[in-house]
């Protein structure tokens, strides 16, 4: 039973956090370029302060938030990617410097940030590109951002002053640039499309800041693509400037939302407190999931409990649950003294918050154990119900087999024997004494046959198997000592266990009525309502039937419940008796 084995929770061996000194050095290196260009802006009038401020609005937050993410989750490459993006923006601002070398370096990096953003957005939240198409798209973006950039610089696209100019051909450079920008915006659009698809597919409500962040990523990619298309075909359009500013502003918002997400997770940990208070107040098993979901800030959380006797996970109602890993859900196993108790199924984005999961799991311990016992009880009830159904079904089959054996064996032989005696009797016309004794034997056999027939019919009404409920009920109704109106509306044969149960509901109810009710008439209605067989027997007798004592009604209720149904009896004193059985058809 491979599926029943507890999956190992997805703990990754964490690398230790980077040293503070290392972080400082990276921060200093990454911020050196922006600081330098910022100083240029102050010194010179020909550079737009607004533009530079926007670039810095991006680069500094990416570097800082990236460092925080790197420090908190060293195992995720996301932090490093953010630092790299900030770094690349910083270097691209060097185009504004006066030194040729700086300008060349900055120009070479001009479009690299776009590819880095695409990489970063698609790699969110765990820093890995999951699918081949994601890897191809990001790879293409890098190639387009760097290759044609160097080519057009060597054709002198950025002016004769830059280094790298090999062959001054501004016309060709312009064509290269158009191809480059169109290709890059195509890659960005594909990326935006993949984000939108991912968001749709993960229909489960993710945690809110994360959802907002993914939307923001998509918007940033769309704006960047639009910006590059305008840049390729009409760089002098009046719309270019505002569009560039809006794009930069949106890209710059992303690290702040990301930071809110980080803080949200940190705040979530403080929600463990209320969970403990909830648990103290005798949390009902059914409310445990809600409390845990609130504490984890993931409304999609579900719990599955481990039942060692059944070797499987079940929900609170004892129904089996599949906890095998699948695409968009993660699992966290909860143990108690090394024994599995339950599994949390939650959003993948929680995987990075192991300490929060651990805190919630620990706080929910006792309540989880209670809920597990509750689930176990439900599973046992379900198991018993199943075994009762199987026992009654096996009994029914056995009765059917017995009746068949009697019919094909003893009854058939007795009839044949009786026929032989009859022929013998006819041949003894000359010997009245012998003839009389053979006749006597034949009458004995006739009596035996009659008794045997009653026994066999009592074991199993064969007419039911052969001809169905409606035909079988005719004789039952005819034997009642009062007129019975019968209405059977069935679209064909039912499962035999249902037919047998319905048959006995009618025959037992009518025989109860005959014995106790002093009724003058009765009505039998059999029909289908909403995938249920409904059998109703109503009499006009004295009512007040004994529903507890005796075995009649109790035995009927057992039969009906064994096929998953329900038997109800209304029997007001002086108001007749109504017996109603409802049994599911499935």
């Amino acid at each position: 039973m491979a599926s029943a084995v507890a999956p190992a929770p997805g703990f990754r061996i964490a690398r230790g956090p980077p040293s503070p000194l290392g972080l400082l050095l990276v921060a200093a290196a990454a911020l050196a370029a922006p600081v330098y260009t910022a100083s240029l802006t102050v010194a010179r009038d020909d550079i737009s302060g607004m533009h530079v401020a926007l670039l810095h609005w991006i680069s500094a937050p990416y570097v800082v938030v990236g460092l925080i993410a790197w420090w908190r989750r060293p195992e995720s490459r996301l932090g490093l990617l953010m630092v790299a993006a900030g770094f690349a923006i910083g270097i691209s601002t060097l185009q504004l410097a006066e030194s040729d070398l700086f300008v060349t370096a900055g120009a070479a990096f001009d479009l690299v940030p776009a590819a880095l953003f695409l990489h970063l957005f698609l790699a969110f939240p765990d820093g890995r590109l999951e699918t081949r198409i994601e890897r191809v798209t990001v790879g293409t973006a890098y190639a387009v951002a760097i290759g044609p950039q160097l080519a057009k610089m060597s054709l002198g696209a950025l002016g004769p002053d830059t280094q790298l100019v090999l062959w001054l051909r501004p016309g060709a450079a312009e064509v290269v640039e158009q191809v480059q920008l169109v290709s890059l915006s195509a890659a960005l659009l594909v990326g935006a499309g993949m984000l939108a698809i991912r968001r749709r597919r993960e229909g489960t409500p993710r945690r809110r800041p994360l959802a907002l962040l993914v939307d923001l990523f998509t918007l940033a990619l769309l704006l960047s693509a639009a910006l590059f298309l305008v840049g390729a075909f009409g760089p002098l359009e009046p719309a270019f400037g505002p569009l560039q500013r809006v794009t930069l502003a949106v890209i710059g918002l992303c690290p702040f939302v990301f930071l809110i997400g980080l803080l949200d997770a940190r705040l979530a940990r403080s929600a463990v407190g209320p969970l403990i208070i909830d648990l103290r107040a005798d949390l009902a098993p059914a409310d445990l999931r809600t409390a845990v979901a609130q504490a984890l800030r993931d409304p999609s959380v579900t719990l599955a409990y481990w039942l060692p006797d059944f070797q499987r996970y079940v929900d609170l109602d004892g129904r089996p649950v599949d906890v095998s890993d699948h695409d968009h859900r993660a699992t966290t196993a909860i143990d108690r003294d090394g024994v599995p108790v339950a599994v949390l199924l939650h959003d993948r984005s929680l995987e990075d918050e192991r300490d929060l999961l651990a805190a919630v799991s620990a706080a929910a311990g006792i309540a989880l154990e209670n809920a597990r016992l509750h689930a176990e009880l439900k599973a046992r009830v379900e198991e018993l119900r199943g075994s009762r159904r199987r026992v009654i079904e096996a009994g029914r089959r056995e009765r059917q087999r017995l009746e068949r054996n009697l019919h094909d064996g003893a009854q058939q032989r007795l009839i044949a024997l009786s026929l032989r005696l009859s022929l013998l009797e006819n041949g003894l016309r000359g010997d009245p004494a012998a003839r009389e004794s053979v006749g006597q034997a034949r009458r004995e056999i006739a009596l035996s046959l009659e008794e045997l027939r009653d026994v066999a019919h009592g074991i199993h009404p064969a007419v039911l198997s052969g001809h169905g409920l409606e035909v079988a009920l005719e004789s039952v109704v005819a034997r009642a000592p009062f007129p019975v109106r019968v209405q059977v509306d069935l679209a064909g044969r039912l499962h035999e266990s249902l037919e047998v149960a319905a048959y006995y509901v009618v025959s037992e109810s009518l025989s109860n009525t005959a014995k106790h009710a002093q009724a003058t008439s009765a009505t039998v209605v059999v029909g289908l309502r909403h995938d249920q067989v409904v059998v109703e027997v109503v009499d006009d007798g004295v009512g007040g039937a004994d529903t507890e004592g005796g075995t009649g009604l109790r035995g009927l209720a057992d039969r009906v419940e064994a096929v998953g149904g329900r038997l109800r009896v209304w029997t007001p004193s002086g108001g007749g008796t109504r017996v109603r059985a409802e049994m599911p058809c499935a």
Binding site: H407, E450, A456
Partner: protein, 214 residues
């Protein structure tokens, strides 16, 4: 008279066949299942078939289906159904359209050889034969203000024989009374029960059954 038998218990089939041959019947076919019986009915001109209601392969409703099929496709062939249980629901299915040339008897009745043979002849000639259990079950039901209570004991006996499919002559023979006396009882019974008088003897079976089931 030409007859075919469908019965899967060999012992019984042989015994039945011997009884019929001894009585001068021409036993055209002894069949083990319904398929074979239907083939015989299509192939030979028969007067009557005797069918066990439980036949292979499933022993559920093959016999009854064959009987209904023969009644629909070959109305001139009498059909006598034998069963180890007698069910009113099945009787009603067999008699749904008419009681002409149809019988439904408990298997045990075979050993009352004379009665059985006369039932076979009756069915072969287009009359009917209903098992006494069916009639007595229907008669045992009590109604408030029951018109049956107004019948004399003799009239009750005649009613039972009528319901079982007896002809007037047959009833006269069983009760050892004259044919005219039977006719008098019949019209008196119909009067008391309010059943409109019908000409044919097999049609009055249906009328009496309808009255008893109502």
């Amino acid at each position: 008279m030409r007859v075919a038998i469908a019965e899967d218990a060999v012992l019984l089939r042989e015994g039945l066949s011997r009884v019929l041959v001894d009585a001068g019947f021409d036993v055209i076919g002894q069949c083990g299942d319904a398929e074979d019986l239907l083939l015989k009915v299509r192939s030979y001109p028969l007067d009557v078939v005797i069918v066990d209601i439980r036949l292979p392969p499933t022993h559920s409703d093959e016999g009854l289906r064959a009987a209904l099929q023969i009644r629909a496709a070959h109305p001139h062939v009498g059909v006598l159904v034998l069963s180890q249980y007698v069910e009113i629901g099945l009787a009603m299915k067999l008699l749904a359209d008419s009681a002409e040339g149809v019988g439904y008897l408990l298997k045990d009745r075979i050993s009352d050889i004379d009665d059985f043979l006369s039932a076979v002849r009756r069915v072969a000639e287009g009359g009917s034969a209903l098992d006494p259990i069916i009639v007595s079950t229907l008669l045992s039901r009590h109604r408030a203000d029951d018109p049956l209570d107004r019948l004399t004991p003799r009239e009750r006996e005649v009613l039972v024989l009528m319901a079982e499919g007896g002809s007037n002559q047959g009833i006269a023979n069983s009760l050892v009374i004259t044919l005219r006396a039977v006719e008098k009882y019949v019209s008196s019974i119909f009067g008391k029960l309010g059943i409109p008088s019908t000409g044919s003897e097999s049609r009055r079976v249906l009328a009496v059954l309808a009255f008893l089931r109502s």
